[in-house]
């Protein structure tokens, strides 16, 4: 006979479906370790289909609050629903997706429950005492801090694409519909403008060719684009090109997109910690820079000291030749 677990459930919540699936993967692992159940929390209206899917991806239970007040993710109704659920069913661990909304909900919930919340975790595991070990990048990418929460629920938020989406298991589970009085929203959304999504997500590119301040003109990115195209990859930018020179809007770095392609080629990039923190998990890092002292060389697999305006086109030519014959 299976021994009953001493541990409370592991819960996951995100308003983003993709993140929810990633959380179900990691949450399932943690629940298994603790020999407890994995539960998904679902807020909104007409959420039945979602409940089925989440069970298919591993949730033993789905707690559903079906209420139109939750539909547009206003803070007060959502946080009051979450607070009620936690007080009623007492999970031990609660993982949130690190969207801007998710982080806000997690912080407010943690305050109401007088507990801690560790945001943007990139490492989650269970220690010898059955507590959740939470690792996150701190000090602008200079360090990874490992933290424990002394109070239950232990709340953590997890950024997109840190953990893998699990395989579809087609499992069935228990749906628990909960009704509770929700707090009225204290903010009113009067207008929404969609931000045009880039055609290709830089996080999904297998090869990234990134340019930094070593590029003199915006037009010079043409040579990087040719290289990226030859490699079947994407071009990316550093923060100064976006914030100072205003050439582009989206950068790679700790405060921007964090990427882990198979191949990263940094061209004319000095390698300040802010940028490095966003590319550190790349499989192979190539650095091309005029300055032999550039810090990016410290984290590179292949280093070329030289003029990117000469080397990049030559590299494109060499690759075209080699890829054609191979």
């Amino acid at each position: 006979m299976k021994e009953m677990s001493q541990h409370g459930e592991v819960w996951v919540f995100s308003e983003s479906r993709d993140l929810m699936l990633e959380l179900l993967g990691k949450g399932g692992e943690l629940a298994q370790k603790l020999q407890t159940k994995l539960a998904a929390v679902l807020l909104g209206r007409g959420v039945e289909k979602g409940a089925k899917e989440f069970m298919g991806y591993g949730a033993h239970k789905v707690y559903v609050v079906d209420n139109p007040m939750l539909e547009n993710w206003s803070s007060e109704p959502c946080v009051s629903a979450l607070t009620y659920l936690v007080r009623q069913y007492r999970p031990e661990i609660f993982l949130f997706g690190s969207t801007r909304r998710g982080k806000e909900f997690a912080s407010r919930l943690a305050t109401r429950l007088e507990t801690g919340c560790v945001p943007d975790c990139t490492h989650l595991s269970i220690d010898g005492n059955g507590r959740l070990l939470m690792g996150r990048v701190v000090y602008g990418g200079n360090a990874v801090a490992t933290q424990l929460c002394r109070v239950n629920p232990q709340i953590a938020t997890v950024p997109p694409r840190v953990f893998e989406k699990p395989a579809y298991k087609g499992r069935e589970g228990e749906v628990i519909e909960v009704e509770t009085k929700l707090e009225e929203p204290r903010t009113e959304v009067v207008e929404v403008k969609e931000i045009e999504a880039p055609k290709v997500k830089i996080e999904e590119a297998k090869v990234v060719v990134a340019g930094g301040r070593g590029l003199e003109k915006k037009e010079d990115f043409k040579i990087l684009e040719e290289l990226a195209e030859t490699l079947g990859g994407q071009v990316a930018y550093t923060r100064p090109l976006c914030e100072d020179r205003k050439w582009f809007t989206d950068w790679v770095g700790l405060s921007g997109h964090k990427i882990k392609p198979a191949l990263y080629i940094g061209c004319g990039i000095s390698g300040v910690i802010q940028h490095v923190a966003g590319i550190r998990d790349s499989k192979i890092i190539v650095a091309i820079n005029k300055d032999p002292e550039a810090p990016i060389f410290e984290i590179a697999d292949y280093k070329i000291v030289g003029d990117l305006y000469e080397i990049i086109p030559a590299l494109t030519t060499a690759l075209k030749k080699l890829l054609k014959t191979s």
Partner: protein, 264 residues
């Protein structure tokens, strides 16, 4: 008169942190301190509102360290008054404990219309103190503002989310956290710096706010940090050299194909 409180953190300048190469421990003690970047944006926005509406701007910080220099800078930028809540017992406070002290200090400061914070601090980047403080003060909160307007008792904020801009209204008193997009913080003139030395810095400790020891520091924090280590660097660090650019390029191309990391 309108009253705006700006919460600022004396943060570690993360661009100047070093790590011990053998132990991978960070050397934070002697790293320079500064006003956290987005808190400066919050302060700038408060000063702009003051210039439009004639409000009073109070800058508030909670710390276990000396933070007078940072507050003098805030006063030079244009804050009217500063409030330093400093106590050694605050050391190692997490966001649960820090938001508690901020809330107590704000209650003692009295009525306010608006609280502004940065979206997150540059050193720990948790983005929690703003929402936690709003929760403790039981006021509406709008995070990630890129534009802010105030008319009567209504604030209108345009906020940036991952896939959309939302324009949101709320009644004051309210709390808003701002992003770096919202403005370009001013650099104070020499004149402003000199004038700032005469402005008032209210200094309180835990006792002045009747804050019990079990609410702050390690005791009052839910989060315990077990380890802070610089990441391991395990890279090949192969220098590719050659007689000509073409030769170097070909060497690299061959190496990359061998690694099996090329997309097609």
């Amino acid at each position: 008169m309108l009253r705006i409180i700006v919460c600022v953190k004396q943060a570690i300048d993360v661009t100047q942190i070093r790590a011990d190469p053998t132990t991978r421990h960070l050397i934070t003690l002697d790293a320079p301190r500064k006003i956290s970047d987005f808190d400066k944006n919050a302060l700038e926005e408060a000063i702009r509102l003051k210039e439009k509406t004639g409000s009073e701007v109070i800058v508030l910080t909670v710390t276990s360290e000396d933070a007078k220099m940072v507050l003098r800078e805030a006063l030079a930028m244009g804050a009217d008054k500063a409030c330093l809540v400093r106590d050694l017992s605050f050391e190692n406070s997490d966001t649960l404990a820090t938001s508690y002290v901020l809330a107590e200090a704000i209650r003692k400061l009295g009525d306010f219309h608006l609280i502004l914070c940065g979206e997150a601090s540059v050193d720990s980047y948790s983005a929690q103190v703003g929402p936690r403080l709003a929760e403790r003060l039981n006021i509406p909160q709008i995070t990630y503002a890129r534009k802010l307007g105030l008319e009567g008792d209504t604030i209108t904020v345009e906020r940036t989310l991952e896939d959309r801009y939302e324009t949101v209204k709320a009644k004051t008193p309210a709390l808003v956290t701002v992003t770096g997009e919202i403005n370009e913080p001013r650099i104070p003139s020499l004149m402003a710096i000199m004038k700032a030395s005469k402005k008032e810095i209210i200094t309180w400790n835990a006792g002045d706010l009747k804050i019990p020891k079990e609410k702050v520091g390690e005791n009052g924090s839910a989060i315990h940090v077990t380890e802070v280590l610089a990441p391991k660097v395990e890279r090949k660090k192969v220098s590719i050299k050659g007689e000509s650019v073409a030769e170097v390029a070909e060497e690299l191309a061959k190496a990359l194909i061998k690694e099996g990391v090329i997309g097609r």
